[in-house]
Subunit: 269 residues, 2 copies
């Protein structure tokens, strides 16, 4: 039997989704149909949603789970009339926070992700990551907060973009090529920035699979080549004392969090 879960918000729904996913991941036996409902910011929209929840309840034969982060009391109360199991993330904590802070909540919506100074930092950081991707440009490394290095296709670009997007960090990346590895030295453009370097490595099998998707049956994607590169890259990281992480079992969020926990990088937001 499938149950429906709704993530409901008066804003983007990102917070409702994040907490809902986290909680539901603790119940991996339960089959779920998940759906996000952002911008439920009027009583009317809430009334329509009540109908949808009730329809799902009828169809499933089970109360839907409704994770909601609606700030406005009237809209939240409207939603409460549905035939679902409501997890009201906001109001559950808000009154105890009001007591602790001895302050009334403002009741305004969606401040978290609204435009602020961080907007410019973020766009700057994204542009920096794009402009300094894949070793394309090395002369701005003094402006970089961090420089990711590793063999081709080990997750450098997505990690840089994520750090830019989520934290406003200016992250460049430099691919260690076969020439770099044969010299057994740190490439010249990286030498002056040793403290900014962070390495990525990956399991050989995984790298073979990823490279085969790009260029199947090439030398580049061969097991021998991937094994050689990974061996040499890891040896280089160890010789030069560069902190590194194996990206095989981690998402970009996790890689970014690990880098932040290791390196002395200042987040811009």
């Amino acid at each position: 039997m499938k149950r429906t879960a709704f993530f409901v918000s008066d804003g983007t729904g990102i917070t409702a989704e994040a907490i809902g996913h986290s909680l539901l991941s603790q119940f991996d036996k339960i089959e779920l149909q998940m759906t996000t409902k952002p911008y439920i910011n009027t009583v009317e929209k809430a009334q329509q949603l009540v109908q949808q929840v009730n329809e799902a309840a009828e169809k499933d034969g089970l109360r839907p789970l409704v994770f909601e982060t609606i700030v406005n009391q009237e809209i939240s109360n409207t939603l409460k009339q549905c035939n679902g199991f409501i997890i009201n993330i906001f109001s559950t904590f808000l009154s105890s926070l009001e007591a602790e802070l001895d302050t009334k909540a403002t009741g305004s919506v969606g401040k978290t992700h609204s435009i602020s100074n961080s907007y410019v930092d973020r766009i700057d950081a994204i542009n920096f990551a794009l402009d300094n991707d894949d070793g394309s440009r090395t002369r701005f490394y003094d402006r970089a907060d961090i420089i990711l290095i590793g063999a081709s296709r080990t997750g450098k670009t997505p990690s840089c973009l994520y750090m830019a997007m989520q934290y406003g960090i200016r992250a460049a990346n430099y691919p260690l090529t076969e020439d770099d590895l044969e010299s057994r030295k740190l490439p010249e453009p990286l030498r002056d920035h040793k403290r900014k370097l962070f390495g990525l490595t990956i399991d050989v099998d995984r790298l073979v699979a990823i490279r085969n998707e790009r260029r199947s049956n090439s030398k580049y994607a061969s097991y021998a080549q991937c094994q050689y590169e990974i061996q040499e890259v890891e040896a280089l990281f160890q010789r030069e004392n560069i902190p590194f992480v194996n990206s095989t079992h981690f998402s970009v969020e996790e890689i970014a969090a690990k880098i932040l926990a290791t390196q002395n990088v200042t987040r811009r937001f």
Copy 2:
């Protein structure tokens, strides 16, 4: 008087931060020093954190706020001994969810962001956004889930990357140039994909400011040029019935959520 807020997790800390930020944005008069503590996944790390919380309490003369999403009961109980005001996001809802679902929580950590099928979708989507950025390539538009169009510097690239990263959506983008606008027709590569098009526009003042940062005092960044382009772009959107959003007051999260709410795009996760 400043208060310290800790966002504590046994994983990346992203959920603790998101809900903490949302709640605290309701108290805009309170001055806060915010700090994220990811990977608190051993009792020892929790003990160290208890010390840090207690030091902040002493320094501030106020109990720190501790938003935590730790799954492991022993680690969470260790943290509970600190001299802070604890908002335990997980366990608050977990027991009522267990009752509703009539199932015990598994107690395992960090499933939300762990590697899964969505990993490949996400990397694919990011590569798609990078490869089909800024009109660089138009022949893969039949593979696109969505194509963002608009004048130069209206937020197309960050929005595409965000949709790729957050939802695994394959988003291309195409800049409407002066030539395109003078012809007063939809550019040829877009005509076969009309249902995939979504427009971005922006306030003229904002566009002038952004373009001046890139190329100051150029014709490109002049008020007259920006005004002309925005006018023509919006006229085109209206003439062709292309849904669009003004990005001036929205973050990329908000733009992405609005696109998802308008277009019939399927998220991959």
